[in-house]
């Protein structure tokens, strides 16, 4: 539908991209300065950036990012480890499949954050419940993708491995898991942003500093530059995370035909 013709087209498109982001930022700044909305509703871009700088220098921003990221990663790591183990087990062990299949089918579409008050009741209002809620939310996509990846490995490739002399025990590690890796990693790529989202929600609900907590505090104090700078910080963290995962995928799955096609 939109055709890109030649290098001139490419550069043109890139320029248009930069222009569009710059335009939005510019529009923001101008709208704010023209006081189309009150300063409260829309603090100017410059104010927000200034606030970010201020928080950066004072160390608050770094501390907040640190806390949020630590919670996110611990919860994510738990979801990753548990999810891969369960997913692979479901694919290879019939009893595991019988047990987990209904749990996963029911659990996947549920809004798991609804269970947050229960987690708070059971595990308190500090980091433990946050991390567990993150893990609980993020584990489902990992299970589903690990299961699918392990289940769907090419029958003929398995047979080739068998006729080359691999035994059943080594088969899992040497053949099944590497073959499943692209899909397992996709599950991880879905789970990481979920971990961040849930971390923010937990922090907003329970406080405890960290990006989510500070944004709520700023809101309660009607500190709108604070709220906006918080959003910018969170957006940047999200962007970096997703990009980092993409880079890891490219290196890890260098052999995969999708990577090759790039």
């Amino acid at each position: 539908m939109s055709e890109r013709s030649g290098r001139a087209g490419e550069y043109g498109l890139m320029a248009l991209r930069v222009f569009s982001i710059a335009a939005v930022l510019g529009a923001w700044q101008i709208t704010a300065m023209a006081h189309v909305f009150s300063d409260f509703l829309l603090p100017s871009l410059s104010e927000v950036l200034l606030r970010l700088y201020h928080d950066l220098v004072s160390g608050d921003l770094i501390r907040g990012i640190e806390l949020t990221l630590i919670r996110t990663f611990i919860g994510f790591a738990m979801a990753a480890a548990g999810g891969v183990v369960i997913g692979v087990a479901i694919a290879r062990i019939p009893v595991a499949r019988w047990f987990f299949d209904p749990l996963v089918s029911v659990g996947l579409p549920m809004p798991k954050v609804a269970f947050l008050p229960i987690f708070m009741l059971w595990f308190g209002v500090f980091d433990v419940s946050k991390v567990l809620m993150i893990a609980f939310s993020a584990i489902f996509p990992v299970i589903v993708e690990s299961w699918a990846g392990t289940q769907n490995i090419d029958k003929y490739m398995s047979w080739s491995a068998l006729s080359l002399g691999v035994g059943p025990r080594r088969f899992l590690w040497e053949i099944a898991l590497p073959a499943a890796l692209p899909q397992v990693f996709t599950g991880l790529q879905v789970a990481l942003p979920i971990s961040l989202i849930v971390a923010i929600i937990c922090e907003m609900q329970m406080g405890g500093q960290g990006l989510g907590g500070s944004i709520m505090t700023d809101m309660r104090f009607a500190d709108s530059p604070g709220v906006f700078s918080g959003i910018v910080a969170i957006a940047l963290v999200g962007m970096v995370m997703v990009k980092a995962m993409e880079l890891v995928r490219r290196r890890l799955l260098i052999w995969h035909q999708e990577t090759q096609a790039e």
Binding site: D154, Y156, M157, W159, S160, A161, L162, S163, L164, G165, V166, I175, P178, A179, L181, I254, W255, H256, Q257, T259, Q260
Partner: protein
Amino acid sequence: MTTGIQFKAVHHTYRPPRGKPVLALDGVSLEVKDREFMALLGPSGCGKSTLLYLLGGFLPVENGEISVDGKKVHGPGTDRGIVFQHFALFPWKTVRENVLYGLEKQHVAKPERVRRAQAMIELVHLNGFEDSYPSQLSGGMKQRVAIARTLAVEPEILLMDEPFGALDAQTRALMHEELLAIMRRAPKTVVFVTHDVREAVYLADRVAVMSARPGRIKEIVDTKLPGGVNPEVQQSPEFAQKVEHLWQLVRDEAIKAQAQAEHG
């Protein structure tokens, strides 16, 4: 070492997860002599690949008997190497690592492994591509890796499941010559599944024609050609006669198979 393959009254029922069981093979009896190149020829769905998979040990023999060198087949083994139509390479391994895999399983010492793998890679003319990944290779190259990988463990029997079916006609012709060259250097017993009559006549010593589902052996035709196997022989009248003969045998079965496919 002598190896003969015996199929005795092999039946096989295909049981889909949903739907009725279907009889795929109906009492197949066949003998493949040592060092013979036997082609299994038949229309789609006749069970020729199934017969190959049973011989390979990938499917259990429930009814009948398959023995290799007098011993019943119980499961996959390195004595029966297999090459599939869609290559079935390990995509996360390089060409060299793919070829090395079977050698590692055999606990061959490292320097020897590397030497043998390299020899195989050279045999299939893939020098220079040792560190490439399968996704970087063309179809013909991938199939050559598959052949190298299988031959590296020196199986007595080579099973080939329409190995050149996914390749274009020109590549296929080249692969025929390569396979024949490899067989001249290190002769093996080969069981080769195909639906291409010309390919069967050209490559094989004997061709077993199978009927449409449920598969039976309809007739076995000798296809050794005077003057040896070389590309020119494909122009000879003897070649054309054999192809015509086999095509007549296959034609009726192909029509039956088509009708089966339409009526389910």
